[in-house]
Amino acid sequence: MIRLLLAALLFASPALAQRSGYDDASVQTRAMQDDDSANPGFLWVRHGEELWSQPTGTAGKSCANCHNAPDTLRNVAARYPAWDATLARPITLVQRINRCRESHQGTTALAPDNDIMLALSALVGLQSRGTKIVVANDGPLAPFLADGARLFRQRQGQLNLSCANCHDDRAGQRLGGSIIPEGHANGYPQYRLEWQGLGSFNRRLRSCLIGVRAEPYGPASAEAVAIELYLMQRAGGLTVETPSVRP
């Protein structure tokens, strides 16, 4: 019973309605995200559409061979990271795409910020744009979520700050002039003006970890997956914005 209560406390969506980073962005940045022809993320989406029907790998298969049109994957990104029964652990959308590449296409896994992966994950993410995020928080995912929540609250790095110090406790305040957003993972891959390019959730995570002078978690590490899982669960109720645009 106490366990259940604790779990409920830990994973209950925050009492206050979540605020997307979109709401903290400037009028111009929001306008860029709202207009597909002005949103630079669509350059990657278009590339993804080309790649979609190109056969690759030793199996000589394209995504289209198994999934038909991209919109058959509607709403999928809104429930990732998700449990992978074969691996017996949660996997991110990028890892899911890599599983298809390796086992169905017979080609190599790609890093999250590889241009091909950005294109494919932007295209798949777009199919869930506007869909409410619902990541399961029970069953076998529970311990992984607990890990993510713990890491989010863990002070770290030379500056000894936790993600929660900024994104739970000080969202809306200014860090050196930038508004601190609530830190939701609801729009990845994301076009950042600062990057002048599209970037994965892992790239964002890396920036914040380097910001506190911590050793960044590798994209395939258990830590990175647990934090992404926790953040997507925490963003529950917000909608997917891929490809989002941020400062």
């Binding site: 002070r155 770290q156 030379q158 000894n160 700050l161 305040q173 050196g176 002078r213 911590a214």
Partner: protein, 130 residues
């Protein structure tokens, strides 16, 4: 708060005495405004820095030289957690008790004692309230 600070003063004074030589306020001024070396402006408002580049996470440092002594200022920078155990201000003199420090920073304090002295010398000149 003031009580805590007073009770810690002997400790901070002795620590300070071991490193204190006169800092250079000019160098301190430049350091204070440096977003990557001292990081102070990420959280604090400081005189002379562009308003839109300053933080709002911490008290305004205008007038801080009138509110604190040299030793108190040094203590605030080297061990802010003594004043507020939950503080988000990094402990500028500390290298232990930290988790997952980036390889490039491992074993190094955020700033060298000489740089802290320079900053303290400059903070002492900040007598005017905002």
């Amino acid at each position: 708060m003031a009580g805590i600070a007073r009770s810690l003063l002997p400790l901070s004074l002795s620590l300070w005495a071991s490193v204190a030589v006169a800092g250079d306020a000019g160098r301190g001024r430049a350091l204070l405004a440096d977003r990557t070396k001292s990081l102070c402006v990420l959280c604090h408002m400081v005189p002379g820095a562009a308003a839109h580049l300053q933080g709002s996470l911490a008290p305004d440092l205008h007038g801080v030289g009138a509110r604190y002594t040299e030793a108190e200022l040094a203590a605030h920078i080297t061990m802010p957690e003594r004043f507020n155990p939950e503080t988000i201000m990094p402990s500028y003199g500390r290298t232990d008790g930290l988790t997952n420090v980036g390889r490039a920073w491992l074993g190094k304090p955020v700033m060298a004692p000489g740089q802290i002295e320079d900053i303290v010398a400059y903070l002492l000149t900040l007598k005017d309230a905002p």
